[in-house]
Symmetry: C2
Subunit: 175 residues, 2 copies
């Protein structure tokens, strides 16, 4: 399986499927093409086709970013997690997330994306749980992110708290 | 001057002294010991005495953190800025801040501290402006941080916005 982690078969990722039994879930036809054998895999390999990633980001309506800068950002992220639908020898990038970190205390999650066709199936949750597990395995205890209003509840469901003890997320942009 | 940057003499840091003329400021006795010649310098050198840094953090009442982890966090930060009071050949660490980053789009500022004796003199502002300038020189356009309630106004004064467009800072801690 190499760097691939199947949320179906790996006991290592059991926590990711605690709430939703993915194996059963896809078996009952949750996949957009239920008649073909499809499995969902996670990977922490950074060697991602950046044009495929761009396509995924396009699909959710994100503004385009220079490929050169995306490459640099991936290279300098602490952890990169991609999510794939695999059918036989074909694989398709259906999710992505990454985190920056000081490798000791804090991590910040960026660019969480799940392809629209694969949303509302618990896969975003599984992706995030996988990322959190990876960060925890590196002893990172403070995992942070900046959530758009429509995903605040999604992250709350994963155990993230907004403004704990009045701590405010703040942004500085160039004028 | 090497890696040192004096906010008194360097035209490079003119923006840091836009609102408060440090040269004049210290000349009129802002230093705790106004009768001695003191200058304030910034440095991006990571080779900081970690016990001196711990002392600084103790002075503002932060909980102690393992030196080993602090060392790792500094090594893996994108930019580290320290602030020093220099009198003749003696130097004293009076401020610190660091930022993690993906080296492309985002940076997150952590561990901003100014020694209590040197607070309320505009030095925290100068330290942050110096850090922002360094991040901007690396073409980072999204600078983020998590501000405790009592420093939200301080960061607002520097141009940081809290919850822009409803974006919420969120935290995940282990149970």
């Amino acid at each position: 399986m190499g760097f691939w982690k199947s949320i179906f078969s790996s006991p290592d990722t059991a926590s990711a499927s605690r709430t939703i039994p993915f194996e059963e879930y896809t078996a009952v036809g949750a996949s957009p093409r239920p008649n073909t054998q499809a499995k969902i895999y996670f990977s922490t390999d950074r060697n991602i086709d950046l044009y495929e990633l761009e396509e995924l980001c396009d699909a959710v309506g994100w503004s385009r970013r220079p490929i050169r800068k995306v490459k640099k950002a991936i290279a300098h992220s602490f952890i990169v997690v991609s999510m794939w639908e695999v059918r036989g020898t074909r694989r398709r990038l259906i999710g992505f997330s990454r985190a920056t970190s000081d490798h000791a205390f804090n991590a910040t999650v960026w660019d969480v994306v799940v392809h629209p066709e694969f949303q509302s199936k618990g896969l975003g949750k599984a992706l995030m749980k996988y990322l959190i597990k990876k960060l925890r395995s590196h002893d990172i205890s403070n995992i942070t992110l900046f959530a758009d209003p429509h995903v605040v509840e999604f992250y709350r469901g994963l155990g993230f708290m907004s403004d704990p003890e009045g701590i405010k997320g703040m942004f500085w942009y160039p004028n």
